[in-house]
């Protein structure tokens, strides 16, 4: 499995879900990965004004890593910090997560735009990462 950090961001930049095995180090700054993902949100939001597709592919770079993004129909941003070269596998991962997210959304007890706490969702997303995000 490749090194990656996956974050789902809802409206008003609220993080809905996060998983990954990537630990970026920087002196004095912990959680550098989240910092990088957060700073790429500006780029993503600008792309959203014009993009007619959900898959935005690679939107930003940080050192050796790429940041790919995918936007759901309800404008939830799926952001992946990774070092893969293969665009297709990232797209397949995003499509799988999108399907799981739709199922969560269809649950009327899930409050919209709140963190997703379902352990089933978490395990399915991690499995999808194992399946698709291979170096």
């Amino acid at each position: 499995m490749a090194n990656f950090l996956f974050v789902m961001v809802g409206k008003d930049d609220i993080p809905l879900y996060q998983t990954g095995n990537l630990v970026l180090q920087r002196e004095g700054i912990s959680h550098m990965g989240q910092f990088v993902v957060h700073s790429s949100l500006d780029v993503i939001e600008e792309l959203l004004l014009k993009a007619n597709t959900m898959n935005l592919k690679i939107v930003d770079h940080y050192e050796d890593y790429n940041i790919s993004a995918f936007v759901t129909a309800g404008n939830v941003k799926l952001v992946l910090l990774h070092d893969l070269k293969n665009d297709e596998s990232v797209k397949a991962f995003f499509l799988a997560v999108n399907e799981y997210y739709i199922k969560i959304l269809l649950n009327p007890f899930y409050e919209i735009n709140t963190p997703i706490t379902s352990p089933y969702f978490g395990s399915r997303v991690r499995n999808a990462a194992k399946r698709h995000l291979k170096p």
Partner: protein, 196 residues
């Protein structure tokens, strides 16, 4: 030879979790009577918990909002996967055609732009299914159960980040015809980045 004997664990059921069930991709239909019963109960339930007609309409609108917001993702996944809209006219056309067809089995009767105001649009539906079987007594004649439908539209627009000031349902009597039409009036806020 090694024989592997499998022990059946006393009638254990293998139920699959909803997250593993595939999303139904085909058209799913519900009978009009089932919906009307359910909606009638929703109106009744909301009525006992609100003190004014406006609050009742707001309640119905909120319920519709949740329906619109959530079903948007599913409808787009089924009908227009991978696509998103960035312009007002395109999102309204998508609502009139795709969303209406998925929820009501038909496209909305018409989509119009208001002459009076730059940021007002109207989706017109001759008899929304919410109003067909709800009888409104004369003393409450300005109640419009299509507030539910207005809520659905608002939910879709909120999900897709098109800011609206209000989405309301109005009864409108066209001068020429005798058929009252229901108009969903959508007022967009002025700070939408993509207006046309």
């Amino acid at each position: 030879l090694v024989f592997l004997v499998k022990m059946s664990g006393g009638g254990a059921k293998t139920t699959s979790h909803f997250i593993d069930k595939p999303l139904p991709k085909g058209k799913t239909e519900v009978s009009l009577s089932a919906f009307s019963f359910l909606f009638g109960e929703i109106v009744n339930y909301s009525q006992t918990r609100t003190s004014s007609l406006d609050a009742l309409e707001d309640r119905l609108s909120d319920i519709g909002w949740s329906v619109g917001y959530r079903s948007l993702d599913l409808i787009v996944y089924r009908e227009k996967p991978g696509k998103r809209e960035t312009k007002i006219v395109s999102i309204l056309t998508m609502i009139q055609n795709t969303i209406w067809k998925a929820l009501f089995g038909k496209t909305a009767d018409s989509l119009e732009k208001s002459i009076q105001s730059e940021s007002e649009y109207m989706i017109i539906e001759n008899t929304p299914i919410t109003n067909r079987y709800i009888s409104v007594p004369n003393d409450r004649s300005h109640l419009n159960c299509a507030a539910f439908v207005a809520g659905v539209v608002k939910g879709v627009l909120d999900a897709t980040d098109f800011k609206t000031e209000s989405v309301t349902a109005l009864n409108h009597l066209d001068e020429g015809s005798r058929i009252p039409r229901t108009v969903i009036l959508i007022k967009f806020a002025n700070d939408n980045p993509t207006t046309v």
